[in-house]
């Protein structure tokens, strides 16, 4: 049995990696992937906590989060597709219509 503390640490590392990617990358798909990374870091944390406390609620949250993440990815990809149709690019640096 792995110590939940290690799992928490892994989860934190994954989250920071996801955040970093979301801040720095300009390819919208990579940013979307980074979001998934952060979501899954949270899932991992839920799972670790469920094991640690012996409580099933954490597992239930994880399952919900996975389902919502799937929906989110679908919508995100749809937005990117639409964005590509409009601007012929998916680079975040070149899309700033909401500026001021």
């Amino acid at each position: 049995m792995i110590d939940p503390l290690y799992v928490s640490g892994l989860s934190a590392m994954l989250f920071v990696m996801g955040l970093w990617g979301a801040f720095t990358r300009k390819n919208a798909i990579i940013v979307l992937m980074c979001f998934e990374l952060m979501l899954n870091a949270a899932n991992l944390q839920f799972a670790a906590a469920a094991v640690h406390h012996g409580d099933v609620t954490g597992w239930i949250y994880t399952v919900f989060a996975i389902a919502i993440a799937a929906a989110e990815v679908a919508i995100g990809l749809a937005i990117l597709l639409s964005m590509y149709n409009q601007h012929a690019t998916i680079s975040l640096d070149e899309v700033e219509l909401l500026k001021h």
């Binding site: 640096d93 500026k99 001021h100």
Partner: protein, 762 residues
């Protein structure tokens, strides 16, 4: 509204007294609406005289009801009769400290004493007569076609206000009706509102009297404060509360008689504005822009008396034992304002060429006489121990009664004079119309516009009218004689009394020498300017072609003149009935001595006074007003009528006398007429110019200041808020970079912040 009758003295004013006020007030909307609806219809113009014949029966009913009230109270000697008609403000509350239920109610009711009886007669009688006059004067002038309903509506509303003021039983209602009259005065002066001068005059009259009214309101508020603790259950301004000896004693004991004097002083300023006294006199001459009936009714016979009535109503306060000697300064101020105005107005009247303006200044001067008389009477009432000393009592009541009797005589005479002047002006217009059309009817087709360059009111265009307008000339003669103070008729009785009493006070209080000398000199000046007016208008040869073609032809107009001529002549009857005692003393009867004894008593008092000082004074006054003034006027303006013109036998001696004096003592006044004094008088002693300049400097300066305040502070605040929020939003806007990365950053930081806050709270 609950109706119930409360009576302090056991006397009740019959409830039909309400009709006197209510009928004209109800006629106002009726005439106005009918006029709007049926303007120009034949039956409205011809049969109903555009409302004139609706107003007439209403005013007649008012007069009949007034006469019934007067008949009921003429013989009463109790101090006053009051009746409460309605409680118009009513509420009750529980006193927090004592737990008692307190009642508060403001009432409307009637107050009738001898002053009320006199003024009620003056107001209702002259309202009716001037209504008759108006039908002749207004409805035959094409300029007024299709808008006379406005005149009659405002006329009846005014009458309602005047009669209400006379009858009401508290200073508050006096003020309410006072303002109603002010409004009607404004509307009627501006009747010819299309003429800029009339619109200006209306504004001037309204604003000038407003200055006085502001002070009146302040005075009333102070009076309310003083009497409020003593008024059980409400109305602290009711006469019954203010005149109550116990209340006045309580105020004197509390050491507040100085505050009371101040309150009365402020109220006096209101009276000064309303009665056109110095320094708020500037509006009255301009008010002559209104139609002549308006000048006769409002600006000579009734409304301008309101200020006098207000001061006369202060008599019980001045005369109270508790206030002994406390108000002599205010009494002096009243007499001084009167003296100054009397002399100043008479001086300005010397040079006026406009018939109505002469009468306007004469009105001002005579009202000032009454103010001086009231001031003297109030001083006497305040200083003498007249409650216990019979001799002092007679002196006080005769002084007060003389002032009120002069009010009566002046109202009758001046109403008649204005109507007579209206008759002259009207016939001049007619004659001008005829002459004009006769000569060059090819060039002019418009009836109105050709009259613009002919001044029908200027005495320079008149002359020799005595044979052409016999009734008018007689009325003018009798009225002028009454104003001058020709012995035995009209104003003689009262004017002698006023002069004598002012001097009587002057012997006691040297300050009064100034008003006393002024009114004595003014008596001579009155003799001059009234005679000048009569001789310029009626004696000599016609000074214009128009004047030679004048005839007395308009129906209705002579009627009131014929009624008022005997009225002014019969002042001797009133004097013999001891009218001065009656008016001054609420405890006396009319005709207490009997007609003959009263006559002999008055004659003795007037012409053979036992006190040599007053005997000499009387003859000086008579000499000045009857010999010096008229002689000078005759020497300057007298003259025989044109050949072939014959005046009526009673007018002839005056015309012939003037011609003889003119022939023998003729002198050239050209140098005087071009002197700086004459110029100053022409310019009305520059008061209007000063006021205009002062208004310009003060009001314009203040307006500029207010404009700067408005631009900088008021507008500045709003603009500051506007520009501040704009620049803030411009800064906030720069946060929206449009870059998804920044938004992610903000979301992350926000979340972090929330987490930190939650952590800190936990």
């Amino acid at each position: 509204m609950s109706a119930e009758t409360v009576s302090g003295t056991g006397l009740e004013v019959p409830s039909f007294a309400l009709l006197i006020i209510l009928l004209p007030m109800l006629a106002f909307p009726v005439i106005l609406l009918l006029g709007r609806l049926f303007n120009g219809k034949e039956w409205w113009r011809g049969t109903l005289k555009e409302g004139g014949l609706i107003a007439l029966p209403v005013m007649a009913a008012s007069l009949i009801a007034s006469l019934a009230i007067i008949r009921r109270f003429l013989g009463e000697t109790s101090a006053s009769a009051t009746s409460t008609v309605m409680h118009w403000v009513n509420f009750a509350w529980q006193d927090a400290a004592t737990g008692e239920i307190q009642l508060f109610s403001m009432n409307f009711g009637f107050y009738v004493d001898h002053t009320t009886v006199m003024l009620l007669f003056v107001a209702s009688f002259l309202c009716l007569l001037i209504n008759i006059f108006s039908i002749g004067y207004m409805n035959t002038d094409p300029v007024n076609d299709n808008r006379n309903h406005r005149f009659y509506a405002e006329f009846v509303l005014f009458c309602s206000g005047m009669l209400g003021m006379v009858l009401s039983d508290s200073f508050l209602w006096l003020f309410i009706f006072w303002e109603l009259m002010g409004l009607c005065s404004y509307l009627l002066i501006g009747f010819y509102y299309e003429r800029p001068s009339a619109a200006y005059a209306a504004k001037k009259a309204f604003l000038t009297t407003r200055v006085g009214d502001v002070f009146l309101v302040i005075g009333l508020a102070m009076l309310w404060n003083l009497f409020q603790p003593h008024a059980v259950g409400g109305d602290a301004l009711a006469y019954s509360v203010v005149f109550d000896g116990a209340n006045l004693q309580a105020i004197a004991d509390a050491g507040k008689s100085g505050a009371l004097q101040l309150a009365l002083g402020f109220m006096f300023i209101g009276a000064v504005g309303k009665s056109a006294q110095f320094p708020l006199h500037v509006w009255l001459p301009d008010a002559m822009e209104g139609p002549t009936p308006v000048s006769a009714l409002i600006h000579a016979a009734t409304m301008v008396n309101a200020g006098l009535y207000l001061v006369a109503r202060m008599f019980p306060i001045f005369g109270a034992e508790a206030m002994h000697g406390a108000f002599t300064d205010l009494a002096f101020l009243i007499a001084l304002v009167g003296g100054i105005t009397a002399c100043m107005a008479a001086l300005i009247a010397f040079v006026q060429m406009d018939l109505k303006k002469v009468l306007a200044y004469s009105t001002m001067s005579q009202l000032a006489y009454i103010f001086t008389g009231l001031g003297a009477a109030l001083w006497l009432a305040n200083s003498l121990d007249w409650h216990h000393d019979d001799a002092a009592h007679t002196i006080v009541v005769v002084a007060f009664g003389a002032a009120l009797f002069h009010l009566f005589n002046h109202a009758m005479a001046k109403g008649m004079l204005f109507m007579a002047s209206g008759s002259v002006i009207h016939e001049m217009h007619h004659a001008h119309h005829d002459v004009h059309h006769h000569h060059d009817h090819d060039e002019h087709h418009d009836d109105h516009h050709d009259e613009d360059h002919f001044d029908a009111q200027s005495m320079a265009n008149m002359g020799g009218l005595a044979s052409k307008l016999p009734i008018t000339a007689t009325a003018m003669l009798v009225g002028s004689a009454s104003i001058i103070g020709l012995p035995l008729i009209g104003g003689f009785w009262s004017k002698e009394g006023i002069i004598a009493n002012t001097w009587r006070v002057a012997l006691e209080d040297p300050r009064f020498f100034l008003p006393a000398i002024l009114v004595l000199v003014t008596a001579g000046m009155t003799g001059f300017y009234m005679s000048r007016m009569w001789f310029m208008t009626f004696a000599g040869k016609p000074k214009s072609e128009v004047a030679a073609h004048v005839h007395e032809q308009t129906p209705w107009i002579p009627v009131p003149l014929l009624v008022l001529i005997p009225m002014s002549l019969s002042a001797i009857v009133f004097a013999s009935l001891e009218a001065t005692h009656y008016l001054g003393d609420t405890g006396s009867h009319l005709g207490e001595m009997g007609l003959l004894d009263g006559f002999l008593y008055e004659m003795e008092h007037a012409f053979a006074n036992h006190d040599p000082f007053f005997l000499v004074l009387t003859y000086i006054a008579i000499g000045l007003s009857l010999v010096v003034g008229p002689m000078a006027a005759m020497a300057l303006y007298g003259g025989q009528l044109a050949d072939g013109e014959v005046a009526k036998p009673w007018l002839k001696p005056f015309v012939s006398l003037s011609a003889r004096v003119n022939k023998r003592h003729r002198f050239d006044n050209a140098a005087l007429a071009e002197g700086s004094l004459a110029t100053a008088l022409q310019e009305r002693l520059y008061f209007d110019a000063w006021y205009d300049a002062a208004c310009e400097k003060l009001v314009a300066g203040f307006s500029n200041l207010a404009a700067v305040f408005d631009r900088r502070v008021v507008d500045g605040a709003i603009k500051g808020i506007e520009s501040g929020s704009q620049s803030t939003s411009r800064q906030v806007r720069s946060l929206t970079t449009g870059s998804a990365r920044d938004y992610i950053m903000m979301a992350a930081l926000g979340t972090l912040l929330i987490a930190l806050v939650l952590w800190g709270v936990a």
